[in-house]
Amino acid sequence: MNLQGKIGSFYRSQPFEFFDDFAWTEGGTSFQLTPPLPTLKWFIGLFPGSGTPFFGSTTSTEGGKNGRLHVASGNVSGNNVNVQLNGNCFVFQRGRRMYFESLLRVSTVAASTVQLVVGMFSSNLNHYDNMATTVADGFGFTMSEDGDLEYVIRSGGSGSKTDTGQDITAATDFLIAAYYDGGNNIKFYRDGTLIKTIETLPSDGAHLTPTFNIGTGTTTSVSLIMDYFGAWVDRA
């Protein structure tokens, strides 16, 4: 027990953190695709319609060691699966650092195909399709159908996404992370290396939550295999 001289208010002094290593799915219900969705840990949207998604834990033959989540889009252009942690409990606020990190892979990087979003974003039912419109706030990474890994920022309903210049290899793990320093900067990392620092920030006080989305722009189903997603933010 190491309370570091802060007994009486130790945990209050620690960041609020979330981590899911997808080692299990809480009795099989966390990612259950049938109602009652609102009661689940992760909230799932399927577009358009249901497609034919696969959603579950990977098996050992799919690289499922230590727990991995496997999400696959349907095979109709525009099919995608949108997932957000319920609760919107990460508040982006000046003076409070925020960080997220995820280790993941995608099944293909074929042109015109992959529609990927990973990061901390405000509530939306379809973060890929609505990234340039109704996704109010957030920061993270996207991969548009040209196969480029991009960093994206949303601030009060506007924002941008920019090619990181980083190439992704199909079916190979890559580590992405972003860090808000509590001041004016958000820093984006790929495999532990800083690749971009920006000074555009989400709205002060915006409620964000861990978010990921995988979809296809062709008739090829795309798989996202996520090893883990972790995030933390300084307490108010």
Partner: protein, 246 residues
């Protein structure tokens, strides 16, 4: 898996004999977030964090009709659980972690910390570690270490040992007041001997070192709010417990 697990040097007999404390922490971020306020039936969800069937916590209430059972707040900063009574005196709602797993035992320090707020300063509240209970104010649990409110702003501290017939919870005024709708950090530490030290917002708020300290018992975190005639809301940010391994 290749290779071997690296157990602590010289202590390769298991985690719990390595001296690491037993830790429990809940930010209250997962589970239902959009459950209706309208009826308890809507909230008897067997899947969510506060499910009555397979959930982590036991939820209890009386015939509450206009409040709501513990649920994850839709947009709590850092994750919150909230619960509400209606405006009838005696209406109560609360929750307790399944199983009494935290030992108050000699030579094993125990630490409890939570951050919470009440909508008013008129409620009865019982928060801390206790043996199983569903009406902790009117029928104090058999064993407990707790903070309480008894209808005013005074934050009370109390311990109980084999106290099942004690009736109403009655603590000692910590001399610190709770402020309506303002988060307060409550913590206590049992020193592994005979003393429990209480803290409010990080500052010392009294000690108890008498025969009521429930040494030799096993307890579980509990949160309960009860109305004295006004609608009351209890919002909990987190609950954390550490206890030295046996």
């Amino acid at each position: 898996m290749t290779g071997t697990i690296n157990l602590p040097r010289g202590r390769a007999t298991g985690m719990r004999t390595s001296g690491l404390p037993i830790s429990f922490f809940d930010h209250f971020i997962s589970g239902g977030v959009t459950i209706s306020d309208a009826a308890l039936a809507d909230e008897s969800d067997p899947y969510g964090h506060f499910g009555t069937g397979f959930g982590t916590y036991i939820v209890f209430a009386d015939t509450n009709t206009t409040g709501f059972l513990p649920r994850i707040a839709a947009a709590g900063d850092g994750g919150h659980v909230e619960m509400k009574t209606d405006a009838t005196s005696g209406e109560r709602v609360g929750f307790q972690l399944y199983g009494c797993s935290f030992a108050v035992a000699a030579k094993r320090r125990l630490y409890f910390e939570t951050r919470l707020k009440t909508a008013n300063v008129t409620a009865d509240m019982f928060v801390g570690l206790a043996f199983t209970a569903t009406d902790p104010h009117a029928d104090a649990p058999q064993d407990y270490i707790a903070f309480g409110l008894t209808g005013d702003a005074d934050i009370e501290i109390g311990c109980g040992l084999a106290d099942s017939d004690a009736g109403d919870f009655s603590g000692t005024d910590s001399t610190v007041d709770i402020v309506a709708d303002t988060f307060t950090t409550l913590a206590f530490e049992y020193d592994g001997a005979s003393t429990v030290s209480f803290y409010v917002n990080g500052a010392a708020a009294g000690t108890i070192a008498d025969a009521t300290v429930p040494v030799g018992t096993v307890l579980s975190p509990i949160f309960c709010i009860e109305s004295n005639g006004a609608a009351e809301t209890l919002t909990v940010d987190y609950c954390a417990i550490e206890v030295d391994a046996g």
